[in-house]
Amino acid sequence: MKQNKEFDNILDECLERLLVRGETIEQCIQRYPEQAAQLKPLLETALAAKKASAIQPRAEFKARARYQFRSALQEAATPKRRPFFGWLPRWATVVTIVLIVLLAGGGTVAAASNSMPDSLLYPVKLATERVQLMLTPSQMGKIRLCARLADRRVAEIIYMADKGDVHQVELITQRLDERLATLAVLASALEAEEESPVLLAPSAEEAMPSAEDRGASDWANNRAELRVTVADYAASNQAALRAALEEVPEPVRAALLQAIAVSEAGYQEALEALD
């Protein structure tokens, strides 16, 4: 076992010399005369494998791909149409939502919370979510809310994918990406908050756990629970998106695959931040 590991290291070093530093096979194996017989055929094979680096994309494909990428780049750089309520300053949005809640007795907002992107109430749902996020005081609370909102986005992606609406699937995927990125940023900030008490750690002579220690332990438990929650969302949403892939109309598959990739990368980043 140890010998295998040693040989793996020797082989890797020779490959580095051969492929990166441009040494010849003879120069490489001179360093390891005992392993020369075993090394030589493997290094020859690695050189043969390197020939595949001559594979190039077809010129027509490259030109078409470059054109499409530049179009997407331009579209991304174009200022987006301001969303519903987007013309209002943030504080005014809060007031507007509170007024809606008061005037409509909460019914509109409640109805909006279940609306889908093809509904007239959907912009109210998004605005309500923004307000909820702003009004949530704790970082943990914000992270939990972000996880729930990301979950909603996935449900919306599947709903719109079923309807074959590529544009909406792409739009909501972008919102999902933003929500998961916010979750990861908030989780990273949690890390910073967690580290600061360590600098002020009490002396070792304090045998009994202090209130601060118990607080830290609760905090760690909450954080662990939070990670489990996000991991559950990640697993169920990945499974739901993949299952949907088998059902949706063909034209929407590429957009759904993109949603899967975004969701996978986003959840992974969020979970890493919570580790």
Partner: protein, 181 residues
Amino acid sequence: MQSEESLVRRAQNRDQEAFTQLYEEHFDKIYRYIALRIGNEAEAEDMTQQVFLNALQSISSFRWKGVPFSSWLFRIAHNQAVDYLRRKKRTAVPLDESVASNDNTPQVIAEQKLDIERLLSATQKLTDAQREVISLRFTSELSIAQVAEIMGKSQGAVKALQHSAIVALRRTLLVTENEAK
């Protein structure tokens, strides 16, 4: 010469020129990796495009953790390839126009194509993980550390996989050669 980090930061701020530069630098490598990994030219083309569109959409979530930007791109490509391989059986890649012509003579290009054809056919007989390590190490020329990051394995595990992949590839190439004789 601009550092990759500042280039990526500009791209994150929607600087089109910076993103185009990153695209041009990495496009061929990503294509090569996917083509060798999945063995289907048409799918490799679609997936390569998709990798860069995904990168464009999610670049704001990219964080510097001392790992090159290319590792992040390869990670997106890796995830897409895993999805694809779960769904479909592999088919051979048609090689027409898939080889760099440079200034080589038609005879050299023909020999190159034959070599690559043999190699591609041999790699399709490897396990997915072995094929991936061959693709990342020898055609994309990534370091062991980068390959480990992309595949989500330890460096020791990648070295062991690299060893077994070369042994398996050698065996397959020898069999193909003997059959051709």
